[in-house]
Symmetry: D2
Amino acid sequence: MTTVDLNSDLGESFGAWPMGDDAAMLDIATSANIACGFHAGDPDIMRKTVALAKARGVSIGAHPGYRDLHGFGRRAIPGLTSAEIENLVAYQIGALQAVAALAGHHVTHVKAHGALSNVGCADDMTARAIAAAIKAVDPRLTFVVLPNSALARAGEAAGLLVVSEVFADRAYDDDAALVSRGKPGAVLHDAGLIAERVVRMVQDRAIVSVTGKAIKVDVDTVCIHGDTPGAVDIARAVRQTLEAQGIAVAPFSSRV
Amino acid sequence: MTTVDLNSDLGESFGAWPMGDDAAMLDIATSANIACGFHAGDPDIMRKTVALAKARGVSIGAHPGYRDLHGFGRRAIPGLTSAEIENLVAYQIGALQAVAALAGHHVTHVKAHGALSNVGCADDMTARAIAAAIKAVDPRLTFVVLPNSALARAGEAAGLLVVSEVFADRAYDDDAALVSRGKPGAVLHDAGLIAERVVRMVQDRAIVSVTGKAIKVDVDTVCIHGDTPGAVDIARAVRQTLEAQGIAVAPFSSRV
Amino acid sequence: MTTVDLNSDLGESFGAWPMGDDAAMLDIATSANIACGFHAGDPDIMRKTVALAKARGVSIGAHPGYRDLHGFGRRAIPGLTSAEIENLVAYQIGALQAVAALAGHHVTHVKAHGALSNVGCADDMTARAIAAAIKAVDPRLTFVVLPNSALARAGEAAGLLVVSEVFADRAYDDDAALVSRGKPGAVLHDAGLIAERVVRMVQDRAIVSVTGKAIKVDVDTVCIHGDTPGAVDIARAVRQTLEAQGIAVAPFSSRV
Amino acid sequence: MTTVDLNSDLGESFGAWPMGDDAAMLDIATSANIACGFHAGDPDIMRKTVALAKARGVSIGAHPGYRDLHGFGRRAIPGLTSAEIENLVAYQIGALQAVAALAGHHVTHVKAHGALSNVGCADDMTARAIAAAIKAVDPRLTFVVLPNSALARAGEAAGLLVVSEVFADRAYDDDAALVSRGKPGAVLHDAGLIAERVVRMVQDRAIVSVTGKAIKVDVDTVCIHGDTPGAVDIARAVRQTLEAQGIAVAPFSSRV
């Protein structure tokens, strides 16, 4: 039986400011990528999110980003050395591990956030530093990456368990990279279409680029979003359609 | 043979702003309490400080404080719940553990910083929350506390290894609490006097209050400061005088 | 004809995190108190909020708070000197004045936010420092205060134009102070009841305490909230009921 | 008689962390560029620095930078829109104006800091946004720029008073741009050499590039540094040598 994980970026509130419907998404996702306080999140929100995940049997991972609360980690901070990226990533993973311990849960994966992920997909130095940080903190942590990216190569070179992620609602170019958000068609909005597309990607183990090119990739986990009420509905449709097609939805961390 | 530890608050720089002479103090202290980014420090400074400590065989501990970079953790942030204090403390310990892993070192103790320590000395709720966070993250961590304080009671009640600290250069009142910095005579400045006083505290296992009252306490570790060139000289005098008197200076973490 | 102002705390988003429905509230309120980046808001949100206010003819004021983004300015930061409070308040007023200039609008009032207001209502030193900052930056700025408070006294002593504010949905004790949010009945929720109560306060120039005591106060402006959809509906009901009762709703700044 | 201004970047401490010897530099410089809290500085440090400048008759200017306390404003934050740069700059100028009012002084110039200046020298959009912010806040503010830069062009196009700055201790390339700090010879260290070079630049109204090319520029103000004890000595030598050569040292703001 085919199995796939559904991962979602959660715990992205900050102080008095809520973001997203984490409770709803934790009924749909099987892995939660939790913001660690640098681009979003704080120790209290991390604790609440971890506790909700624990109660629903959802796996948790660190979602480290650049130190850029005001920019939500979406801006590439230039000039960081390899050691500085290692420190940034390790700090955030460790912080989540400790907060997870308070909630009786444990961190099983890491996925880079926003601009740190974008830079890491293309820049070997950044990718290797992220992988090195994960390995130093806990070499059993699974590294969630975009297929065919510098992150994937760095994770494999470091001997980490690497899990390959596709996006439910994002268009791909012919290099299996995401079409950038600014471009027309970069983000899909039709729930039915998105759900069908996810089923096809999981069954075919391939993504189809904007030009129609099929690119064989591992599809271990599908990224779903919950930042708007519409997004939660799409995520629910993705899960229901997968299950209706006989595809099991389960955390990758139990399978690796 | 009598043995005592010398601990010092280090890693208190931030970004472009240096503070203290960590390299000099790591030649004198046997345990380093490292700021974790909330009142001072950042991942890069933590990494450098841990690496220096590792190279000199100095034990390291987390030095968590309130989230108050601008106030250097010296202001009591009101209104935190027990869970919020747990989260604050756990986050910071975990962050240091992970950064320490990058430098091949490991965290063996925790000591609360500034206002968090002051509040924790008097307030049972705060003290218990700090102890609970330490226990959840790693119950083998040693908890450095002021003797006779709420922190000491909370640490013992939680079953933690509790280590009792005296201050080389601070006056005590009759309850073994520190005389607050504002009052005359609260801080001692004469290196010779300070060094002799430390030897007496270690040998007698007692502090002498400002009124002359001797109070029996455990003296496992002596806090020394390095924020000014004068402070480094005093710290060096303390160590030399202890050793000249036949008292061994060694990390408490090797003894517990 | 009786006239009253409706003021609302706006511009309380931060970076990627929205808060409140500022556009809706700017159709109801006649004065906007705009967060200045210390407890909420940032230069971009300030600019947008000012531009919206300008387009609707809504007066704007600075809403300075403690430097406490994580706590949303709701925690009393201890230990600030008089000069430090002056600096804190002046900085925020000036920042808004400059951003307002970009949007072709100008700041006409100041109202302290959250814990800074609460502390200022009771503590003369804090109240005088806030008034001194306003006076130094621009002595023509109107100072919005709770009646009978230390803020009111400090504003008058400084020779500032002082405007007296009542809260549409908050219960008062017999000293005309707000019943603290934790207590039962502190916050009213019934739109009809709130609207009637506001009309009565404006017409009688008095508040009625929880024990039924009528306290004569100036009622220059009524604070309305917009942080929830329900709150916006209440605010709209307040305005409609005032106008239905023949009370004009207009910015105080045009009247002073 | 030839006159020149000496400007220095001051007020770069933050909270508990001092930086530079502002008191010493305010005896040498005639214009102070004061950090406004985004890359360095805070309201209290701004107040103290302004008061020191006022007491010595030193002109003050805002020194706005990117929102990047951890990176000290030395990293180019990507992705800001023109309006966002305007907001960033206006906010910081206004904040300083208000704090200056508390100290009885007033802001007469603006100079962009660090990466914001570097980006502004080359990028027309950024340069125009900085100039637009200055003009909106107060069109009488003098704009301190590198000669031949996008900042200079934008300032002139906006109709601002533009003042041309040379660096005492930095090498120039053939386009009159600063040789970047990483390259050998980018920063000069010999006090005598630096002082002679400044005299020559002021007298000849030209800079000499690393290849020996003389480039005619206005030399209204010379940037001197005070971040190290050695730097203060160099700055003092520059001033003494200028005066010994019969060149008057005075704030540009009194001349424009």
